[in-house]
C-alpha cells in the first residue's frame, strides 16, 4: 500500500478532498498575475529612475538646484528627508552620489536636488558646470533613514543644518508648512557667509507665513552689515533661541565639522543622545585624518586590489574601495555611499582594510569578512569577491 493510499483512510479525507477540488475549481489562475509583484513594487520602490533635467535654478554663487522630471512621467513617493543616488559618468568613470531631495513629497511632478560645489568634488563640479536642461540621468529610487517618524518624533522638532545640509530639511519644512501638519519646526542654519545661505528668502517667507516654523540663520564669518545671529551653533546660542529643550527632537545635517562641534554642545545642554538624529554625509573629506587611521599608511600609498576571477587594479589608500573599483571599471551596486545601506557589500578574501567607525556593518558580516566597500580603505594589498 503506498503512502497515498494510506492517507485516504484518514478520517475526513474525502470531505477535505472535496474542499481541495472545490478550491481548485474556484481557484486563482496565477498565470494571469504575471508581473504583478514587479508592477506594484515599481510604483513604490523602483530600482532605477530615468530622469531629465527640466530646469537649472541658481540658488547662490556656488549652489544650483537641478529640477528633475521623469522620462516615464511617473515619480515614486518618498519621505521628506530621503535622497536619490544619482549616477554620473565623468572623465571616463561611472560613479554615483547621493543627493537629498529638497522639494516636498507632495510635488509629484519633479524632484529637486540642490548641489553645492565641494572642494575637489569632481561630481559636484561636473553637475554645476556642465549640466543643462534636457540632460538625462539615471538614479536610484528614493532611499534613506533621515526622516521624521511619527511614531516617536513628537511634535516639536529642532533642525540644525550646515551649508548644503539644508537640503533634506527643505523638503521636511516645505511638507510641514504646505500640508499644515501638526508639528513645529525650529531651524538653526549655519553658514560661513551671508551669501552662502541657500533658500534664504523662501525660508524667511515661510517663517513669516507659518506660526509653526521658526527660522534662525547663524553666520560664522559675518560681514559688517550682517543682521543675523553670528558665531557657531553653540549650546548657549541654542539655549537662547530655543528656550526649553526637553521633549524636543533634534535633527542634524551638515559636514563632519558640524557634528563634531554640535554633538558635545547638545550633550552639554542636556539633550539625550537618542533624541538627536544625524544624516550621514558621504565619505569623509580626508580619511587619513580620522582618529583611528593607522599613521604608518601615508596618503598616496598605492596597493593592488585583486578582484577574484576578474582581474586587479591599483588603489589609493585614501580612496574607498568602492571608488577604486569604479575607477577600475567594475560595476558595484551602491546607494548611500556612507557605510549605511550595505548595497556595496563585498567579501574581503585577504588583506587589511580600514573601516571608519559609524559604518553599519552587521556583526555576522564582520565575522565572515564582508565589508561595505564605500566605507573600507585599503591598508595592504587585498583580494575581494564581488
Amino acid at each position: 500500500m503506498t503512502t497515498k493510499d494510506i492517507h485516504t483512510q484518514i478520517e475526513g479525507y474525502h470531505r477535505v478532498l472535496d474542499d481541495v477540488k472545490s478550491a481548485q475549481r474556484y481557484g486563482t489562475d496565477y498565470r494571469i498575475m504575471k508581473g504583478e509583484v514587479a508592477r506594484v513594487l515599481d510604483l513604490l520602490h523602483p530600482r532605477r529612475l530615468d530622469l531629465r533635467v527640466s530646469e537649472v535654478i541658481i540658488e547662490t554663487p556656488s549652489t544650483k538646484t537641478l529640477r528633475m522630471v521623469s522620462e516615464t512621467g511617473y515619480l515614486p513617493p518618498f519621505e521628506a528627508g530621503q535622497y536619490i543616488n544619482l549616477f554620473v559618468e565623468t572623465a571616463g568613470v561611472r560613479t554615483s552620489r547621493p543627493y537629498s531631495i529638497s522639494s516636498a513629497p507632495g510635488m509629484t511632478a519633479y524632484y529637486d536636488i540642490t548641489v553645492r560645489r565641494q572642494q575637489g568634488g569632481f561630481v559636484s563640479e561636473y553637475l554645476l558646470e556642465t549640466v543643462k536642461p534636457g540632460d538625462r540621468f539615471e538614479s536610484s529610487g528614493p532611499a534613506g533613514q533621515f526622516r521624521y517618524n511619527p511614531l516617536i518624533h513628537g511634535r516639536e522638532l529642532v533642525f540644525i543644518a550646515g551649508g548644503s545640509g539644508i537640503t533634506p530639511f527643505m523638503s521636511m519644512i516645505r511638507e510641514t508648512t504646505d500640508r499644515g501638519l501638526d508639528r513645529s519646526i525650529h531651524l538653526l542654519y549655519g553658514n560661513r557667509l551671508e551669501g552662502d545661505i541657500i533658500f534664504h528668502r523662501e525660508l524667511k517667507e515661510r517663517a513669516e507665513r507659518h506660526k509653526n516654523f521658526i527660522y534662525t540663520p547663524v553666520i560664522s564669518e559675518p560681514s559688517k552689515k550682517c543682521s543675523e545671529l553670528t558665531g557657531l551653533i553653540s549650546g548657549d546660542l541654542m539655549k537662547k533661541v530655543l528656550g526649553r529643550v526637553e521633549g524636543k527632537n533634534f535633527f542634524l545635517c551638515g559636514p563632519g565639522a558640524l557634528y563634531d562641534y554640535c554633538m558635545p554642545e547638545l550633550e552639554k545642554l542636556g539633550v539625550p543622545l537618542h533624541r538627536v538624529r544625524r544624516e550621514m554625509f558621504g565619505s569623509p573629506v580626508d580619511i587619513t585624518s580620522d582618529p583611528g587611521w593607522p599613521g604608518e599608511v601615508k596618503k598616496g600609498t598605492r596597493f593592488t586590489v585583486k578582484v577574484k576571477g576578474k582581474g586587479d587594479l591599483s588603489a589609493l589608500a585614501e580612496e574607498s574601495l568602492l571608488v577604486s573599483l569604479e575607477r577600475g571599471g567594475y560595476a558595484v551596486p551602491a546607494l548611500c555611499r556612507s557605510g549605511e545601506c550595505s548595497l556595496c557589500r563585498v567579501k574581503l578574501l585577504s588583506g587589511k582594510v580600514y573601516q571608519p567607525r559609524g559604518a553599519h556593518v552587521r556583526a555576522s558580516d564582520l565575522k565572515y569578512g564582508y565589508i561595505h566597500s564605500c566605507a573600507a580603505y585599503p591598508l595592504s594589498d587585498c583580494e575581494v569577491l564581488l
Binding site: 500500500m1 503512502t3 497515498k4 494510506i6 492517507h7 483512510q9 484518514i10 478520517e11 475526513g12 479525507y13 477535505v16 478532498l17 474542499d19 481541495v20 477540488k21 478550491a23 481548485q24 481557484g27 486563482t28 489562475d29 496565477y30 498565470r31 498575475m33 504575471k34 508581473g35 504583478e36 509583484v37 506594484v40 513594487l41 510604483l43 513604490l44 520602490h45 515614486p76 513617493p77 518618498f78 519621505e79 513629497p105 509629484t108 533613514q145 517618524n149 511619527p150 511614531l151 516617536i152 539625550p272 537618542h274 551596486p333 549605511e340 550595505s342 548595497l343 556595496c344 557589500r345 553599519h360 556593518v361 552587521r362 556583526a363 555576522s364 558580516d365 565575522k367 565572515y368 564582508y370
Partner: protein
Amino acid sequence: MNNYDVVVIGAGNGGLTAAATLAKQGLNTLLLERHNIPGGCATSFCRGRFEFEVALHQLSGMGNPSFPGPLRSMLDSLGVVNEIEWVEMKNLYRVVVPGKMDITLPANRKGFTDALIEKFPNEKEGIAAFIDLVYRFFTEVIGAFYMRDPEISPQKYPLYFKYALADTQTIMDEYLKDPFLKLAISVYWSYVGAPPRLLAFTEYAAMIFAYIEFKPYHMKHGSQVLSNALVDSFIKNGGDVRFNCGAKKILTGQGRVAGVVLDTGEEVRAPYVISNASPMATCGEMLDKEHQNEDFFRQMGGHSIGPSAYTLYIGLDCPHGDLGITETTNFICTHTDMDRSFTEMKMRDNEPGQMLLTCYNVSDPDASPPGTTQIALVDLKYGEPWLSVPPHQYYDYKYLYGDKMLSVVEGLIPGFRAHIEEVEVATPLTHMRYLNTPAGSIYGFNQFIRDSRVFGALDPGIPGLYFAGAWAGGGGFQPTLMSGGSAARAVAKKIRQERG
C-alpha cells in the same frame, strides 16, 4: 565556467540549505541572489546603534547535542552548527490579555501542563487529557512517518488516522471550556497563520511537541549569522555565489530544464534548477508558455496566498528589566476570539487583536548594546489590502497601524513608547519589496487543512525543476531550511542515477 550541475535561484533559507547540501555532495552549483545579502527573511539590518533581527523569533527543531532535533542534524551535516552560538529559551511564551489573563508556559511538558492547571484549576482533567492526546498523537506520527514504518495502518496508528485532518478547534472544544485557556494553549497558531478552526491538528501537535521537546532557540547575532554561515559552507565546498543578480528565465531543451538566463543577460547551462522563488514567479514568469503545465497551475490555483506581516523593529534606550519585560516571547491579545483575529489579518486599519512582542535580550543579553533592548513587535497581515493603497498615500498609511500597536503595548507596559530610540516599520509592501513574493507573503501559501501535503506536493511538471522554501514546504525557519535539504537530496539522487 558557465556550466553547472545545478543552479539555485534565491538565497533564502531553502535556497541556502539546498545550495550548501549540493556543494557538500560535490555537485557544481551556482547560487543566485537578487539582493545584496543572503538570507531572504533570515537577515538583519542596522539602524543607529542597533542591529535588528528581521524574522526569527523561535527556532524549532534544534534540540541539544545529546538530543538533537531534525534541524540540528541537517545543519550539522553542513558544518554550520558549531559556527553559531545557540541560545536556548526556557519558556515557550507568555500570553497576556491585559487585565484579564497573564500566563507564562515553560518549555517542558510538566511545567507547561502545571502552569495551565494552576491558572485554570477547574479544567485540570481536560488540560492533562488534551496534552496527553497531543503527545500520543505525535508519537504515532513519529513512529509511522519519521521512522518510516513499512506497515502503516489505522489499527496500528489509530490516533493518527482519526485526527490527522481534524481541525484543532474541534478537538480543543472537546477537552477545554474557558476561551482564555483555549487562547493560551493554541496561540502558536500565528506561527502558521491559520486559526485553530482552520489548522490541521497534525500541524498544531507538531508545533507544541517540537517546541517543548526540542526547545525554542535563537542565535547570537541573529539569523543573518546562519545565512552567512551557510554561504560560507557553500563557498568552501566549491560553490559559486552571485549577489545582486537574479534569474530572468529558466531555459529548457528536449523537454527538460537546460539552464538559466541571469539578470545580466548571461546564459548559464545546467540540467537542474532548484527555485527558492515563488512558484508563481518560477513557473509563471521564468518558464516559457509551452512549458507551463496545466495540471500544475490548476493544482496551485487551489492554494491561496498566505499572510504577510506588519512589523515594528524597536530599539529601546533602556534595559528591558526597567520596563518589567521578563519574557522573550510575549503574545499580547486584546480579546480571545482567534477567528476574529484571523479576519482582522485581512484588514489594514483594525484595532490590533493579537500581536507578538519578542524581546531578544531576555534570552540573549548581547542582542543589543549594553543598556539597550531589541524588540520585534509583529502582527500577521495579509498583503491584499495594502496593494490598493495609492502610492502617494502609502507613507501616510505606513505608520497608522504601528501607532495602534504601540498604544496597546503602552497600556501593558507604561512608558514603553518614551523609551523608543529607533523604530523601523515594515508593512506587507516592505516584505514584498525584500522577498519579492506575491502580496508580500512571508509563509508562502496559506496552510489550511485542505493545503495539507496529504493531498500531494506541487510538481512543476517539467523534469529538472524543483522547489525549495516556504511555498514548497510550509512557512517558518525549520520547514524552509529543511525543504532546501530535501530538494537538494532529490536532485543529487537523480544525478547519481544518471551518472550510474
